[in-house]
Subunit: 347 residues, 2 copies
DNA sequence: CGTCCTTATGTAAACGCTTACATACACGCT
DNA sequence: AGCGTGTATGTAAGCGTTTACATAAGGACG
């Protein structure tokens, strides 16, 4: 090493000088943005190799106005349904040479807003968001900064909100209808907090509407909003069981809560589905590994992630307009729900 | 709007002109890097507000040589133990105004290497990695580019590899010792693929060593490496049960596999723990919601994430040296393991 | 009242790329 | 020979910040 061996990083200028070409040519070799004669290319690549040159994405992004960054904002990643969603987005991004910025809002609207703002400042090329409920301010910021975005997990008829989603209301209706078909009339609901979660709200609305359509009045005591935790589901179930007139079936807008609810029933000696029918939502892998296997709604989380990522990338690279896709959901009938006991509570 | 209303983004130069200060002052207001007189500050902030100025993180990062980016590379995020880890890292990062780049390698060494390279090119300020096994090339690149990194999920005595981890071997030993104490002598192992997962290898090694220490020869037929999936665990259990001389207990190096294994036993009419004892690893939330509740090893995933993130950030901001921390694990005794049946197979 | 701080601000050169535009040359055609 | 065309390359002006350094203004002090 000569005394001149400053610890400065190599730049394309260094490469250019040594390969006796211009920086433009190096840049062209680096991203194939224009034809380069094979011998020139080889010469440049050789120098790059020899000096362990590492491209600077920040500088590249600044100059080209394409950061190669995609922002993903989800409420949680611990629930494996969101994890599956996130992972498939990351997989698509990776394949298309984009990098994912991960933002977890923990169901806090303020945090979500902050993340969106932060990601815009980082110059993400697009945002993938969960749900449609957020301050107008966030939407304005995305538009003002011309950051395309796509809504997921919630279909919306607003034409100005592109989305890749499924119909929460329709899905919840399937679950509740199934319980009604089984003969249940006194049905409880355990769901997420509708105040901070528009998907939970849609599911709850559909629950209530479906019951009303059949002339059943919804007993507010049989509706419980709580966190997406096993324990929360369990506690909610416990609350319902303690009522003088407990439900014969419960729809849980989430498999985690459903498993908690099942556990509580079993702990109380109430057979499922014999004494209590339970339907979940998400179809987590675990749903087939609990006893009884969970009847639930299958949600296309991974596919939704893949399609959302593909959509924004197609939009960025080929100007494909961003539209809305509604994916199907499916009731998966297993064994956690059946008809109510013919009379009283025989357990 | 005048005809001059080009759709150009506002820059600090625009702000500076309008607030009748220099760009340096705007910069100082923006990141409080030097004192600014209150009235000047207010004037600048006012203009920023009025024009909806949005800072450009790419340009800022380029100029300051601080990107504000942290790279996280994990093998999967679908397993909720890694999700918990990732989420706590993101939480710390968010609080400290860093942004997390998410990389999921899906247990592919090649993919992991690519992610590390990509993240370095994006000029992450530090990397949080899973395990220590990777090509020397990756380590060289990190060092050459002076990107600090920290290893997680695996303790290592190499002093050149800072880490926040727990001792996989020690943890596995606790699990196996417990089964031995229960009286088991014929013990199976279901674990991850040791070829691409050094944590799995450590657990397997400890399993074998612990048995050998007690003078028990390890039956290779009772060791099964498979994916971290319920079905894989189930299939592995099935394989063992079909042997002429099945084990009386199985250590699963992962709760997911353990739950699959339990399910298989129950499907075959083998009571757990009566006919088969099972110990898991991770202590996922679901562990208390399966029947029987899973005896398992509690792994400090969230704390490990938090500490890893805090360590790299402290290193970046306060030059705290990066060292190694080994967190404790704990055997959580529940009900999926007990003594072996006194004789034969009474089920 | 000149000197020396201190504090607030301005000047302008980076940071490491991309890309519009200019140039150079080779080739085929009339 | 003259022209047009196309391909490969070079030139240099950005991209939107930060920050070292210079400067200015206001005290405090002897």
């Amino acid at each position: 090493m000569t005394a001149k061996a400053e610890k400065r990083r190599k730049t394309i200028r260094d490469i250019a000088r040594e390969a006796r070409v211009s920086t433009a040519t190096v840049s062209r070799v680096l991203n194939g943005s224009a034809p380069v004669r094979p011998d020139t290319r080889e010469r440049v690549e050789h120098v790059i190799e020899r000096h362990h040159f590492v491209f600077d994405g920040l500088a590249g992004g600044l100059a080209s106005r394409r950061s190669g960054l995609l922002g993903l904002v989800i409420p949680t990643v611990i629930n494996s349904i969101y994890a599956a969603f996130a992972q498939s987005i990351q997989a698509v991004a990776q394949k298309e040479r984009y990098t994912v910025l991960l933002g977890v809002s923990e169901f806090s609207p303020a945090e979500e807003e902050r993340l969106i703002e932060q990601f815009i400042a980082r110059r993400v090329e697009a945002l993938i968001l969960t749900g449609a409920d957020r301050p107008a301010r966030s939407y304005q910021q995305m538009r003002r900064n011309q950051v395309p975005f796509i809504i997921t997990w919630k279909s919306t008829r607003r034409r100005d909100l592109p989305s890749v989603s499924f119909d929460n209301g329709d899905a919840a209706r399937k679950a509740v209808s199934f319980l009604l078909q089984c003969g249940h009339r006194r049905i409880g609901l355990i769901c997420g907090r509708t105040g901070v979660n528009d998907r939970a709200r849609e599911r709850r609305d559909a629950f209530e509407t479906t019951l009303k359509e059949r002339g059943i009045t919804v007993d507010p005591e049989l509706v419980c909003e709580c966190d997406f935790e096993f324990d929360a589901g369990r506690a909610a179930m416990q609350g319902m069981l303690r009522r003088p007139d407990p439900p014969t079936a419960v729809f849980c807008a989430n498999d985690i809560q459903a498993i908690g609810a099942i556990t509580e029933c079993r702990g109380e000696g109430i057979p499922v589905p014999g004494g209590m029918s339970i339907v979940g939502f998400d179809d987590l892998p675990i749903a087939t590994f609990v006893d009884p296997q969970l009847t639930t709604i299958r949600v296309p989380a991974a596919e939704m992630g893949r399609l959302a990522a593909e959509a924004v990338i197609a939009h960025l690279t080929r100007h494909t307009p961003l539209g809305s896709i509604v994916l199907p959901t499916e009731l998966i009938v297993r064994s956690s729900a059946s008809g109510p006991m013919p009379a009283g509570r025989p357990w």
